[in-house]
Subunit: 498 residues, 2 copies
């Protein structure tokens, strides 16, 4: 068959697969927002049926043969088709190497492990989780061996979350970052000593949620979100989900008084949302419209949340608008809000960590994950190693496992190799930010005036429009002239916090 | 193969089909509530892909053979399986008789017709709609001929909305009802002459929607809705939709001031919702859990909305609760609210009609539909016939087609034979109500005290629990001892309005 007609068939099958993916996303969003609790089992059954169809379609022999044939002819394909076929071929090769029994076994092991983790965390009892985590680790080793028996097992895991990521690349990067932060941290703590009891004026009052949502919607519009192609939702844990490029949903969590968490959470999700809304439509057909990787996606959310959304200038513009809705906040100043949002203080919980100490939490996990996957650390000794590393890296030591090794959900689902993408996001953010601020040195003046045009256009041009057309590191090189480095984040943190 | 293993395979396939149906319902609900407008085309594509899979699965040759084999063995099946196979077989027989080209043609004709209708209604220009409606009518005749060339074409259409419904059955029923109403109406109008300018005290103030939703949620709980298996939504046109028996969504429309519409609308949808929430779970596997027909479903919504929800006793209980949320309403009395909700006045628009004149709107449509389908009335003469019949039946004549023949969406979608199910719903409601009130003569005292136990249990026992296990008329006979008759509605209206 001719390449053109092969490609037509291939795109047709991608469209069908995309319909199932879009459906899965819509049903997942609904589950987290509006689905009544009593429908959990029914929804589970529906999602399982749809996932089965998706799997059968994606691994259908005819489709596999089609992809193989196109892959062989890849030099004759236009660049978009070539990248599409390469990405799909990589996924298919994985599916081929993983026997069905292994996939089912993985599902069973991680389901049981996740449930054990919930109970272990609730009761602060690591022993409940330990045998399950041991099985999960064995399963992850097996997974890596099945995919590439000759490779470094942890590298195989890393690559499954971030295309092309390796230990050899990460190690020096994170070592440099660790040095930078441990040098900076005591200075910042000394400088911020007087701010110890600082409370955010946004967290002092109960605010009407509907009014708060009205403000948020308006704020996000002004930064560049297109509500005719998006929606917001109220959820337990904030997240962004794309049902289609024209249906991007930003979800945050509302508390009675912790409104700063709601607001920064929404600005974070907006970063993800702008990336998803602004891919070039020419990539849709080839399935390359969505953001390319966790590490690039997280750079967009962290940059908007931390670099812009916690600045004084941001609140110089938006606080007066918020005060118009809520007279209770009238005595708050942008300086107070921004200072409180940038308080640095080593603590136990990663998700509550400030910008400076956050990456130390990730470095801890990166080191422990390697020890575990390479069999140098027994799971039974993990809580102790965790505490020791916390003391070493952050100078604080949790007294309970709940605040220590049991705090994150990731390992319970078998997500070893995922955590580094968070720090990668921070590194990418700082490196892109360095370029952006060089191109637009007036950014802070603009933001203080509510002018997000430079921000929007620079990131659309250099990141968002490209979807998944480039690999993460190609994108970084194209946008900044170099691969991800540590120095920009260290520079940024030094400049901001000293 | 043995019956048992055939049945197991059959139920397995029903489960898969149900997953697609549930997905379709969830995506439709989302489209009407939360989906951003910009995602319309994407959602349309997704729904088309899913509908294609559902169609292929439902008409899959192996499945058809399986159903045929089970149908032949139906005497050996348990009663639930027998009813299930009978219903599915009937649907499959239809699919077999309708060629794919005809189905596609129907889609095209009705899509074009629906769009023409929107424009025609907006611009009050029947001529725009006329050629499309002509095609729709030809298409419906063809549909009836394909399904059963020897039957009365209008009967075939009726049966596709209400199992077993025929002109011969409906004609005398509606004639009797017409007589009853035309005798009653002038008396009611005379008795209500003083109420001409009566306004509903619930429609005098702008009320906070969030507070109103809180009240509605609480009101519906007290009547018997289980919110752990349901949700509410805000929509343009109120409707109920079941995503699963444990996920029933009630949707109403909010206006700045027309709160009585919102409240009666929600009580109406609650009637549908209670029916869907309270089917016996033993019917789920066989796909017989949902309400059996439009005529029975509508009886449950109309009964709760009109017979209970517009009574003084209902508002004696709920108005004080509403007043607790809204001090603006403190001078309203249950009598004022109930009187306003039961004002009778012949008008042009069916959906705004009162309980007495409503069925005259349906009788008009029933008569015109027969004329049209049997070729005795040309579409070009339809507006004129409409006006003449309005004058004849209701004593009022619309000056525009917008308020006349163009008011309803149904014909634009090809739904000829649908309207009678609305009146059937009213007749069934009155007949069931007659039985219920004989069993529970104290119902009004109970309702005034907020006690809905008798109501809930009687309807659960006699209607809701049975799902689709009985045909509509079997259900009516089982619940009331006789098939649907006209006298109970006439009695009810006479008693209530005189």
């Amino acid at each position: 068959m001719k390449t053109d007609s092969l490609l037509k068939k291939y795109y047709q099958q991608l469209k069908v697969l995309r319909a199932f993916e879009s459906t899965g996303a819509a049903l997942s969003w609904d589950r987290e927002t509006w689905m009544p609790i009593g429908a959990s089992a029914d929804r589970g059954e529906v999602l399982a049926v749809l996932a089965g169809f998706h799997h059968d379609l994606a691994t259908d022999k005819k489709f596999v043969a089609l992809v193989d044939e196109l892959f062989e002819q890849r030099e004759n394909l236009d660049p978009i088709a070539r990248r599409s076929v390469t990405v799909v071929k990589k996924d298919l090769d994985k599916s081929v190497k993983l026997p069905k029994e292994f996939v089912e076994e993985t599902q069973e092991i991680t389901n049981a492990s996740h449930h054990a983790w919930i109970e272990a965390k609730q009761t602060n009892n690591f022993a409940l989780f330990q045998p399950h985590l041991e099985k999960v680790v064995e399963n992850r080793k097996k997974y890596a061996a099945l995919l590439d028996p000759s490779a470094n097992a942890y590298d195989v895991l890393l690559d499954s979350y971030e295309e092309g990521l390796t230990t050899a690349y990460l190690q020096p990067l994170l070592a440099e970052l660790e040095d930078g932060i441990t040098e900076l941290l005591p200075k910042v703590l000394k400088a911020q000593a007087s701010r110890k009891d600082l409370v955010n004026p946004l967290d002092q009052h109960e605010l009407d949620i509907v009014k708060l949502q009205t403000f948020i919607k308006d704020m996000l519009s002004q930064i560049g979100f297109d509500w005719s192609r998006g929606q917001m939702g109220s959820v337990e844990h904030p997240f962004e989900i794309s049902i289609s490029p024209n249906d991007v949903r930003l979800n945050t969590h509302y508390e009675k008084k912790q409104h700063s968490f709601t607001l920064t959470g929404m600005v974070h999700e907006l970063g993800h949302g702008l990336y998803e809304q602004n891919g070039d439509p020419k990539y849709i057909e080839a399935g390359l419209h969505h953001g390319v990787s966790l590490g690039i996606h997280e750079s967009q959310s962290r940059l908007l949340e931390n670099f812009i959304g916690r600045s004084i200038e941001f609140w110089q513009y938006f606080l007066p608008q918020l005060q118009k809705h809520f007279s209770q906040l009238k005595s708050a100043t942008p300086e107070q809000v921004s200072l409180a949002l940038n308080k640095v203080s080593p603590s136990f919980i990663r998700t509550e960590a400030d910008e400076v100490t956050y990456n130390l939490h990730i470095i801890l996990r990166f080191e422990l994950e390697q020890e575990i996957i390479h069999g140098r650390l027994a799971i039974k000794d993990l809580p102790e190693s965790w505490r020791a590393k916390m003391k070493d890296l952050l100078g604080v030591e949790p007294t309970t496992d709940k605040e220590g090794v049991l705090q994150d959900v990731h390992w319970s689902w078998g997500d070893f190799g995922y955590f580094p993408t968070y720090t990668l996001g921070n590194l990418n953010a700082a490196q892109l930010w360095n370029r952006f601020t060089k191109a637009h040195p007036n950014w802070s003046v603009e933001v203080a005036q509510g002018n997000f045009t430079s921000y929007f256009h620079w990131f659309k041009e250099h990141v968002w429009q490209h979807g998944s057309f480039y690999t993460p590191q190609e994108l970084m090189e194209k946008a900044t002239g170099e691969k991800t480095k540590a120095e920009y984040l260290i520079q940024y943190l030094n400049k901001k916090y000293l």
